[in-house]
């Protein structure tokens, strides 16, 4: 008998019941020497603690990245990651960038024309010419 996988009964839809923030991890990279990291170092010293405290569901990692520009990387539960270069930015601007990564869905930026995407079947069914009233010409 061949091995059979377990069929999924329902598709997971985050937010319908429980809600998990899409961003699971933020990596902050800085350089101690370079001037473009000045704002980043100030952010790490002063406001990162409050940011981390306000977002307990996000894992935060801080690591040096010598001789490179400072970067914030967001890791998302869909497996993707988003990186933002924050060179020469002020600490307030870096807070904005961190919030942007926090709220992002992790999907690739796309232009969509339809606001609603649904995986449900059509509620009212598909129109059929063989049902309903007989049409007279």
């Amino acid at each position: 008998m061949p091995v059979q996988g377990i069929r999924t009964v329902t598709a997971a839809r985050n937010g319908v019941g429980a809600f998990i923030l899409q961003c699971k991890r933020l990596d902050f990279h800085y350089c101690d020497w370079a001037g473009s990291s000045r704002g980043m170092v100030s952010f790490l010293k002063n406001s990162l603690a409050s940011f981390a405290k306000a977002n307990p569901q996000i894992e935060i990692r801080v690591s040096p990245r010598p001789h490179k520009h400072p970067v914030i990387k967001g890791h998302y539960i869909n497996g993707r990651e988003k990186a933002v270069c924050v060179r020469n930015l002020e600490p307030e601007q870096i807070v904005q960038k961190a919030n942007l990564l926090k709220e992002a869905s992790g999907e690739k930026n796309k232009r969509t024309k339809k606001p609603v995407t649904s995986i449900n079947d059509s509620v009212r069914g598909i129109w059929s010419p063989f049902h309903g009233d007989t049409k007279t010409v």
Binding site: K53, P115, R124
Partner: protein
């Protein structure tokens, strides 16, 4: 649930339509003359006109940390409770609506045509909605209740509003999932006889929502909440059978 400003913006539609006569807004609830008399004759009507069960956590965009798990915060702070709607009269349902409502409520799944800023969105449970704008003062995890719908329906039955269904007949909740962005748009602008191209860039952000539930209240629930049964008349929401 949402801050008061967000609520006012999201549900700013009633004020935009003040030019219309008041009676056409909610065909069901705003029939003042008969309502006031009937409400006096019912002393046991509940004090809360809209008895919607408050659910999940709420958040104001202030310093309070966002809580992603609703179960961890069973107590909702008073400052975060949803704004109580100021209904002056209990909801009115006609006899025919009361007769036909069980057919609609018993037939799942349901769809709703919810209006936000006068734009209709046809939603079913679990749908993903990307609003064409960035909703201010909301955070991921917030729950919004859409209270403006023109259609509520199932496979064979539809409750039509005139033009909108009274918000006390249903509950439609959406969860704020986050903020999405679009790729950078570049528009090239040129002038005649000038070898110069101006490139204008823009990048918009959009709020992502997920439909949590669409619940049409049953006739028993409506009567329990103090709905007043009136005779059939014009301008009242009716359940229609699919042709």
């Amino acid at each position: 649930m949402f801050s008061r400003t967000a609520l006012a913006r999201a549900f700013a539609l009633p004020f935009e339509q003040s030019a219309r006569p008041l009676t056409t807004r909610f065909g069901v609830c705003l029939r003042q003359a008969s309502t006031t008399t009937t409400s006096q004759s019912h002393p046991e009507q509940p004090t809360e006109p809209l008895s919607a069960t408050p659910r999940a956590q709420t958040s104001a965009p202030s310093q309070q940390p966002p809580t992603s798990t609703p179960s961890s915060t069973p107590q909702i702070p008073a400052s975060k409770l949803p704004v109580a709607p100021a209904f002056t009269s209990p909801v009115e349902v006609t006899k025919s609506l009361l007769e036909n409502l069980p057919y609609l409520t018993g037939q799942k799944p349901h769809y709703i045509t919810a209006h936000l800023h006068d734009k209709p969105y046809l939603l079913t449970e679990g749908d993903h909605l990307r609003l064409p704008f960035l909703m201010p003062n909301v955070k991921p995890g917030d729950v919004l209740r859409f209270n403006r719908a023109s259609l509520l329906g199932s496979r064979e039955f539809t409750l039509k509003g005139t033009p909108y269904v009274d918000e006390r007949l249903y509950e439609c909740r959406l969860r704020v999932m986050g903020v999405d962005s679009e790729p950078l748009r570049v528009k090239e602008k040129t002038k005649r006889r000038r070898r110069h191209v101006q490139r204008v860039t823009s990048k918009h952000r959009y709020t992502l929502l997920r439909v949590m539930d669409i619940k049409i209240k049953t006739a028993e629930e409506l009567l329990q909440e103090g709905a007043v049964v009136v005779e059939d008349g014009k301008g009242v929401s009716e359940v229609e059978v699919k042709a």
